[in-house]
Symmetry: C2
Subunit: 152 residues, 2 copies
DNA sequence: ATACTGGTAATTAGATAAGTTACATGATTT
DNA sequence: AAATCATGTAACTTATCTAATTACCAGTAT
């Protein structure tokens, strides 16, 4: 896996806020147990999401609030807020400038790779947090249904 | 950067083989100086490219050969041969199965993320090694031109 | 007041990639 | 045939990054 779990964890966190709002205390401890990680990691994710303007947190109190509508939040925005600083495809090297290849490959690949990255981001831009929530709820309903029909 | 330099280095290596064929000894030492890395790293890249069927190498002799036409090799194929084992976007966690979110988010995101990955790969699939070579040669020619006009 | 809770720094641990050393083996040159 | 140069790999070291952990401060709520 090339992209860290911060991205998927952030989506998970935001989804949790929506689905469990009013049903559970939205503390970093409880969220951490859903994510199966430590509360500190959750708080770090929350700090980042707060700085990016997705949520409002209250120091000392677990009343975290989503500030925007799930249907208006794209996975791309979450991606950019969590991982988007560095490019997806790396061209780290200082290649040899005296070589025809080494002297020209960096801008060449940077350009081509950015096309690929933009394509991936375009897809993420069309998926909303609401889409994720809806899919999860559909899957959960299907699970329940499967359980019920088993009992009969 | 999320994807290692093996991908870009492999493209660099293959491009070098084409552009410098017959003009230089294609030894791992010489290629390494273009890539600005060590010969062992180059040999490791070559081993991988050989196993993937792109090149033929000869133990003891630097007569490495490209086995396929550059116009028929896409960057996607090189990507898959060098980095394609693991998905681009990670969902590493064993999330809590007793939670509506934790119990359903993994397949949900796996699905959405694969769409993004496929979009990126589709772009890479349309770029050929020949495209890279052509772009590099054009840039090199432009450099030479700029130098000449400066001298006048 | 006391017990939770968020905020954050500092440290540790684990994974991965790249560079390095070393050496075996094949090819080439003289 | 011997010496040289090449590839093929294994083993080790470094560097970097992520995540987990520990610890502590500060705010909230009962």
């Amino acid at each position: 896996m090339k992209v860290s779990t911060r991205f998927s964890d952030s989506i998970h966190l935001l989804t949790f806020l929506v689905i469990y709002k009013g049903k559970t205390t939205l503390s970093s401890n409880i969220i951490a147990s859903s994510l199966n990680t430590s509360p500190v990691v959750v708080r770090r994710l929350m700090s980042n999401l707060r700085d990016a303007g997705f949520i409002k947190t209250t120091h000392g109190s677990p009343d975290t609030e989503l500030l925007r509508e799930p249907k208006d939040i794209s996975l791309l925005e979450i991606y950019l807020a969590t991982e988007g600083k560095s490019p997806l495809f790396a061209i780290d090297h200082e290649t040899n400038p005296d070589c025809i290849v080494g002297g020209n490959i960096q801008p060449t690949l940077t350009d081509y790779f950015s096309h690929a990255e933009i394509a991936a981001e375009a897809v993420l831009g069309k998926i909303s947090l609401q889409d994720v929530i809806d899919t999860i709820l559909v899957k959960e309903a299907a699970k329940k249904q499967a359980e019920n029909s088993k009992e009969e």
